[in-house]
Amino acid sequence: MLGAYFDFIRIRFLTMLAYRVNYYSGILIYTLNIGVNYFTWRAIYGDGESLGGFTGAQMTTYVAVSWMARAFYFNNLDREISTDIRDGSIAIQFIRPYNYVLVKMMQGLGEGLFRFMMLMIPGMLIAILLFPVQLPTEPSAWAGFLVMLFFSFLISSQINIITGLSAFFVENNEGMMRMKRVVVDLFSGLIVPITLFPDWLSSVLKVLPFQAITYLPGSVFTGRVQGVGIWNVLGIQVIWFLILLIPIVWLNHAARQRLFVQGG
């Protein structure tokens, strides 16, 4: 049974591989994103030494690693699920002998593995060549970062799944999907590190799951969080992973009761 789920990872990976040419442009554009952010931040720093506890060098590293992490964890599970719901093919998927949500997660993982190898690693190498990125020297930072990156993927995909499944209740969730994308990019700390927000906002963001996607792994990678601190931030991610399982299980259950096919 478990083997079937692994096949979903493998098949998605191979599907992505068939379309890999698209990803060469992706590398270019992610690098460009990092470049533009890098210059913007350099202009903001001017002669200043540090902003919100970030030195200029840390900020460069943070920007690079955040965009590259996004290259890995980003996927369109929300869109896939809501398309399944809207064209009715979810009815068939529900009666198949597997767990629909788990299958989506596995497909997302297959895509993530592909993105990790074809987009994130080459993109990171280019970014290191072009910009003054400081790589961490401590093995614990590397290990911590990789584990946290995996949790970034899990949490980001969970949020996508919740957004996708919401199509059961609002029929057309196009707006919600767009809103989710914006909220995740802004509140995860991709665009602005959370410590730079005004105090009231950053204290709100500290109790939301989004920081676990970009800000926390980025903090470990730039060395702002070290040693025992890594366990703490990892703990936050694990807790959010567990909390987000609850709405998914509930939505999945409620969806089976509510399923009606719109002209499928």
Binding site: S25, G46, G175
Partner: protein
């Protein structure tokens, strides 16, 4: 006239479809504005930590941002190519378009009109008015005609770029992932381009000229003389890039053979 009639018919149709998903209409307006708000928040956060960005103060950067929103709203309303490849090529809808009398690109624009985007333009105008009055900008006789001309030019630039990119889907059978990423890059044209290094400046000015939809035209209203020439070049760039887009499109359509399924 024929095309105007079509536009009105499609807008009516749009209203009917929209009324089916009434709540979603507002969610979409809000999510559009929220998307704009992220960039706006970015500017506000930046200026909490610094006084000037490459020699431009907060009100000036906010003004540029306001201008940027105006053509972008118009563009998103009338020229929405998002998901073209999946909808028209993969699902074969292009065949239907090509068998109809009206121009194929125009039909695609019509089928995807998105009036809620115009809210962004309105907000943009309000932002311009507020930051403009903070700066004490004079309202000259040419302000309004210039605003219209530059907005139309910027819309032409957007249309040119996105039509070119979308017509790539006639050549490759895979759905292209370039469009969403381009949406990220276009926002960089709002910042004073002088802060970037030479390569990015050239890229944003001449290759994917997003500087012409934000900073250059806005500089004209801000009386930033160093960018006046560039601002006045905007209509020309608009014409050039729109032509490139239309040419790439018609080449692509000629090459189109229909999907297998």
């Amino acid at each position: 006239m024929y095309y105007l009639g079509l536009l009105i018919e499609y807008l009516k149709n749009y209203m009917k479809t929209r009324l089916t998903y009434r709540a979603d209409f507002w969610v979409e307006v809000i999510s559009d504005l929220l998307f704009q708000a992220t960039n706006f928040i970015f500017i506000l956060v930046i200026f909490m930590h610094t006084d000037s960005l490459g020699g431009w103060n907060q009100n000036e950067v906010v003004f540029v941002y306001g201008f940027f929103m105006v053509p972008f709203g118009v563009f998103s309303c009338f020229v929405n190519m998002w998901g073209f490849s999946e909808r028209y090529i993969v699902k074969g809808e292009m065949d239907r378009i090509l068998t109809r009398p009206a121009h194929n690109l125009f039909q695609i624009f019509l089928e995807n009109v998105d009036p809620p985007s115009l809210f962004g333009s309105i907000i943009g105008l309000i932002i311009m008015a507020i930051s403009g009055s903070n700066l004490g900008l004079p309202f000259e006789w040419w302000t309004l005609p210039m605003l219209i001309l530059l907005t139309l030019s910027a819309v032409a630039i957007y249309t040119g770029i996105y039509t070119t990119l979308t017509s790539l889907s006639f050549y490759s059978d895979a759905p292209t992932g370039i469009l969403p990423l381009m949406y990220n890059i276009q926002t960089y044209g709002r910042y004073p381009v002088t802060i970037y290094n030479r390569a990015i400046q050239v890229l944003l000015t001449w290759i994917i000229p997003f500087a012409f939809v934000g900073i250059y035209p806005a500089a004209l209203f801000l009386h930033r003389d160093e960018m006046r020439t560039m601002a006045l070049l905007t209509p020309l760039v608009g014409v050039v890039f729109l032509s490139i887009g239309l040419m790439a499109w018609s080449f692509g359509v000629k090459r189109y053979k229909g999907a297998g399924s």
